[in-house]
C-alpha cells in the first residue's frame, strides 16, 4: 500500500500541470463544500449592490442584473455544479459498474440486454434526452442528476464490461466458481475490486462530462432552480448581458472551465498512475 502512496506522490504530483490541476481541484472542492459558511456574502441577496455593477473592491466579481453580489453566486454555482455532478456520477458509477459487471461476467442474454440498453441510451441524443427528462421530471436537481446519469451510464457500462471480460477469464474466478461461490459473490468479491481501477479513471472523465451537462442544462434553463445559481445558469444569466456586464460570463465561464480542466488533468494523472503508458522513443 505504501507503494501506491509513493506512486501517487510521484506520478500525481510529479509534474507542474497535474499539481496545478490538483490544487485547483482542491480549491474548488473547498469552496464547494464550505462555500456557504465562508464570509463571502449572501448569493441570494437582491440589491446588495448596484445593478450590473462592475467588479470592485466590495464586489470582486461585480454584481448581476438584480444587484446581487456575483462572487458568492459563483461560489454557490461551484457548489451546485460540482457537487451535483459528483453525486450524479457517483450514483451512475455504482449502477454502471454493477451492470457492466453483470454484462461482462454473465454474458449471453444478460450481456445482450445490458449492451442494448446502453446502446439505446447512447443513441439517444444526449441533450434531447436531457430536455425530455427535465420536462418529464420537472427541472431541478433530480432531473439534472438523472440526465447526467443517463449520459454517463453507457461509459461506465462499456468500460466495466470490457475490463470484466478480461478479468472473468482469469484463474481465480474459475477457482471461485469451482469452489461453489455464488454469482453475486464472484461479482462483488472477485470482480469488483479488479475493475475499480478502470472505474476510478472513468469517474473523473464522467465528472467533467457531468459538469458540462449540468451547465448545459442550466444554460437551457433546466437545471437548478432560481434564485439558486449553478455555473451554467450564471452563464445563461450573464450571456444576456455580455455587452454591458462581461464579468458575469467571464468569471463564471472561467471558473467552469477551470473546474472541468482540473478534473481532466487530475483524471489524466490518475490514469497515468494506474495504467502507465510508456511509449518508447523511436530511436
Amino acid at each position: 500500500m505504501s507503494g501506491v502512496r509513493q506512486i501517487a506522490r510521484r506520478r500525481l504530483l510529479g509534474d507542474g500541470l497535474t499539481l496545478f490541476g490538483a490544487l485547483a481541484l482542491g480549491c474548488l472542492l473547498f469552496l464547494g463544500l464550505f462555500g456557504p459558511w465562508l464570509p463571502l456574502g449572501d448569493p441570494l441577496r437582491i440589491a446588495a449592490g448596484p445593478r450590473l455593477g462592475a467588479p470592485s473592491a466590495q464586489f470582486l466579481f461585480g454584481t448581476d442584473e438584480l444587484g446581487r453580489d456575483f462572487l458568492p453566486r459563483v461560489v454557490q454555482g461551484i457548489r451546485s455544479t460540482f457537487l451535483l455532478s459528483a453525486i450524479a456520477v457517483a450514483i451512475t458509477a455504482v449502477i454502471g459498474t454493477l451492470l457492466g459487471l453483470a454484462a461482462g461476467y454473465l454474458g449471453r442474454h444478460t450481456d445482450q440486454m445490458i449492451a442494448r440498453g446502453a446502446d439505446i441510451l447512447f443513441a439517444f441524443p444526449a441533450l434531447v434526452a436531457g430536455l425530455l427528462v427535465a420536462a418529464v421530471m420537472g427541472p431541478g436537481q433530480a432531473s439534472a442528476i438523472t440526465v447526467i446519469s443517463i449520459a454517463t451510464l453507457p461509459l461506465f457500462i462499456r468500460v466495466v464490461r470490457s475490463v470484466t471480460l478480461g478479468v472473468a477469464g482469469r484463474g481465480f474466478v474459475t477457482a471461485a466458481e469451482v469452489a461453489g461461490a455464488s454469482t453475486l459473490r464472484v461479482m462483488l468479491v472477485h470482480l469488483l475490486p479488479n475493475v475499480m481501477g478502470a472505474v476510478m479513471v472513468q469517474l473523473t472523465y464522467a465528472l467533467s462530462i457531468g459538469m458540462i451537462i449540468e451547465s448545459a442544462l442550466s444554460f437551457l434553463g433546466l437545471g437548478v432552480q432560481p434564485p439558486d445559481a449553478s455555473l451554467g445558469s450564471l452563464l445563461r444569466q450573464g450571456s444576456a448581458y455580455l455587452t454591458i456586464a462581461p464579468w458575469m460570463v467571464l468569471t463564471s465561464g472561467a471558473v467552469l472551465s477551470l473546474a472541468i480542466m482540473s478534473v481532466n488533468l487530475v483524471g489524466d494523472a490518475v490514469r497515468d498512475a494506474l495504467e502507465p503508458l510508456k511509449g518508447r522513443p523511436l530511436t
Partner: protein, 485 residues
C-alpha cells in the same frame, strides 16, 4: 427585416392564443376595427360602424379591401369568420369575448348587421383584436384555403415563403385596400429566439427592427451607430395568478393572499427588473387613464406598514410562514427575475417562497388546466378597453382561469353591469369599486406595466410606432414601414 423573437405556435388565426402568433397574423390579416395611439377604436377593415342600439351594430366594409388573392372582402367573409370563431369545433377562445350574438345578416356586399342578445360593451373592442380577424370564407368553405396550415388575409402582406423556426418571407399584398401601402414591397422575418443573437443581428444590420422584453437591451445596444430604441407602453401588465381554489395551497385562505399582495414590493420589481422604466400597475391598467385602485392599501400605504399588515393577516390566518411555490415559464427570463425579486420581498413578511421555472407547456397545463400550483408569474394582455380586462375576474366569463379563480358573486355582478356602461365618469366610479373588490380577493394581481422595447436600425428602416398599444399590437403601423433611403 424583422427579427422576431419566437415562431408562431399555429397558423389558425382564430385559435392561437399566443402573442408570437398574433404578431404574425397582424401582418396578414385585418380586423374590422383597430385602435389608435390612445387606444380609441378606429376603422379597420370596416371603414365605419354604426351602433344602432346597444345590441345592434352595422359595419360597412372599406371600399377596395381585398384578400391577397385579389378577391374583394365581402359581407359573407365577415359573417363566416365570426361564425367560425363561435363554432365550438374551431375551439376558439375568443367566442366568449364577442358576447352573445343572436344573428348576423348581410345588408349588402359591404354591410353587415350584427344583433346581440344583450348589451355587451366590449363587443367592439373584441372585434379589434386580431383573433377576430376576417378570413376568406368563400375559399375556406370551398376547401381552397385551410386556415390551419396557411394564411390568406386582407392585411398589408402575404406569406410567400416560410422556413419553420428560421424565416418568413412576406410580400406586399398587391390588393391591399390602402393606396401606396404597404410602403415596403417585401418583409423578411428572421426567427431569432436568443436575445444575444438578436442583438448581434441588429448590430451587424441583418435585421432592422425587433423587440426585447429585457429592459437593458437598449442600453446594451446603445453604442452601436444607427440603433434607435423606442419603449412602447402597453396596456399589458405583469401579473401573478394566485390559486384560490386549491385546498392544497396556502393561498386557499384569502388572508394569506391579501398578505402576499400587501407584502409584494412592486417598486422593487420596477427598479430591479426593469431599471425603473416600467411602472406599478393596477388591475385596471393605468394606461387607460383611470385612477382605479390607486388609493388602496396595497398601493398607497408605505411598505413598512404594508408588511406589518401582512404579518397580522398571516397571524390571523394561523400561517405565519406559509410555504408556497411561485411558478414561472423558464423561457422568459424577465418573469424569472420578477419571481426572484418577489421571493425576496415576500420573505420579509414571512413567506417561504420556492421558485419553479418550468417549460412553457408545463406551466400552461399546471396553471390553467390542472390548477396545480400556488401562484405563478405571467403577463396579462390589457386589450383595448378597461372593461374588457377586468372581465377576467369573472372566471365564468373568462374561462381560462376557472382552475384557480374564485368566483365572487358581487364582483361578477358588478362586472356584468360595467360591461354595458360606456366610457364615462360613472364608469370610472364603477371601476374604482370593482378594483377594490378585486384587491380584496387578491386572486389575480397586477404587478407592473409591461413595456415593449422596440429597437430598430434608424439608418436602415423608417418606422412608425405607437407610444401605447393594446394586445400586442406592437406593429400596428407596419404598413408604413419603409426601407430608409
Amino acid at each position: 427585416t424583422w427579427g422576431k423573437p419566437a415562431e408562431i405556435t399555429g397558423f389558425d388565426v382564430h385559435v392561437a392564443g399566443t402573442v408570437a402568433s398574433w404578431e404574425m397574423y397582424q401582418m396578414v390579416y385585418e380586423t374590422l376595427l383597430t385602435t389608435d395611439d390612445d387606444l380609441n377604436l378606429q376603422p379597420g377593415l370596416a371603414e365605419s360602424w354604426e351602433e344602432v342600439s346597444q345590441t345592434r351594430f352595422i359595419f360597412t366594409l372599406r371600399e377596395g379591401a381585398a384578400f391577397s388573392n385579389g378577391r374583394v372582402v365581402d359581407a359573407q367573409d365577415v359573417i363566416g369568420s365570426i361564425e367560425r370563431i363561435r363554432n365550438p369545433e374551431t375551439a376558439s377562445y375568443w367566442a366568449h369575448q364577442l358576447g352573445e350574438i343572436v344573428s348576423m345578416e348581410a345588408l349588402d356586399d359591404r354591410r353587415v348587421a350584427v344583433d346581440l342578445a344583450r348589451p355587451h360593451a366590449t363587443f367592439l373592442p373584441a372585434l379589434a383584436h386580431i383573433t377576430a380577424a376576417i378570413i376568406p370564407v368563400q375559399e375556406y368553405q370551398a376547401g381552397e384555403f385551410n386556415p390551419e396550415s396557411e394564411m390568406l388575409g386582407s392585411g398589408p402582406f402575404m406569406v410567400s415563403a416560410h422556413n419553420q423556426d428560421e424565416s418568413w418571407t412576406l410580400l406586399r399584398n398587391p390588393h391591399y385596400g390602402r393606396d401606396g401601402y404597404p410602403r415596403a414591397d417585401r418583409m423578411n422575418v428572421a426567427i431569432i429566439p436568443d436575445e444575444s443573437a438578436r442583438m448581434a443581428a441588429l448590430r451587424d444590420g441583418r435585421i432592422d427592427f425587433t423587440t426585447f422584453e429585457n429592459p437593458d437591451a437598449p442600453q446594451m445596444l446603445g453604442t452601436t451607430a444607427g440603433v434607435a430604441h423606442h419603449p412602447i407602453q402597453t396596456t399589458n401588465y405583469y401579473r401573478f395568478d394566485v390559486n384560490a381554489l386549491s385546498e392544497d395551497s396556502a393561498f386557499h385562505d384569502r388572508r394569506v393572499r391579501q398578505a402576499m399582495n400587501l407584502s409584494l414590493d412592486r417598486d422593487a420589481i420596477n427598479m430591479l427588473v426593469f431599471n425603473g422604466t416600467s411602472a406599478v400597475d393596477y388591475p385596471v391598467p393605468a394606461a387607460f387613464g383611470t385612477d382605479a385602485c390607486h388609493d388602496l392599501d396595497t398601493y398607497a400605504l408605505p411598505r413598512e406598514e404594508r408588511l406589518a399588515r401582512a404579518r397580522e393577516l398571516l397571524a390571523e390566518a394561523g400561517q405565519p410562514a406559509p410555504r408556497v411555490e411561485l411558478m414561472a415559464a423558464s423561457a422568459n427570463p424577465v418573469l424569472v427575475r420578477i419571481a426572484e425579486v418577489a421571493q425576496q420581498s415576500l420573505a420579509e413578511a414571512g413567506f417561504d417562497v420556492r421558485i419553479a421555472a418550468v417549460p412553457t407547456a408545463e406551466y400552461l397545463q399546471r396553471v390553467f388546466t390542472d390548477g396545480d400550483f400556488d401562484f405563478s408569474a405571467s403577463w396579462l394582455a390589457g386589450y383595448t378597453d378597461p372593461s374588457m380586462v377586468i372581465q377576467w375576474w369573472n372566471p365564468n366569463f373568462a374561462v381560462w382561469n376557472l382552475a384557480f379563480q374564485e368566483e365572487v358573486p358581487e364582483l361578477s355582478e358588478a362586472l356584468a353591469a360595467v360591461r354595458s356602461v360606456p366610457d364615462s365618469p360613472e364608469r370610472d366610479e364603477a371601476l374604482r369599486d370593482i378594483c377594490a373588490m378585486i384587491d380584496e380577493g387578491a386572486n389575480l394581481l397586477a404587478l407592473v406595466s409591461k413595456v415593449d422595447y422596440v429597437v430598430y436600425r434608424s439608418d436602415q428602416v423608417e418606422v412608425r410606432l405607437a407610444d401605447r398599444t393594446g394586445s400586442a399590437n406592437t406593429w400596428q403601423y407596419i404598413a408604413e414601414f419603409a426601407p430608409a433611403e
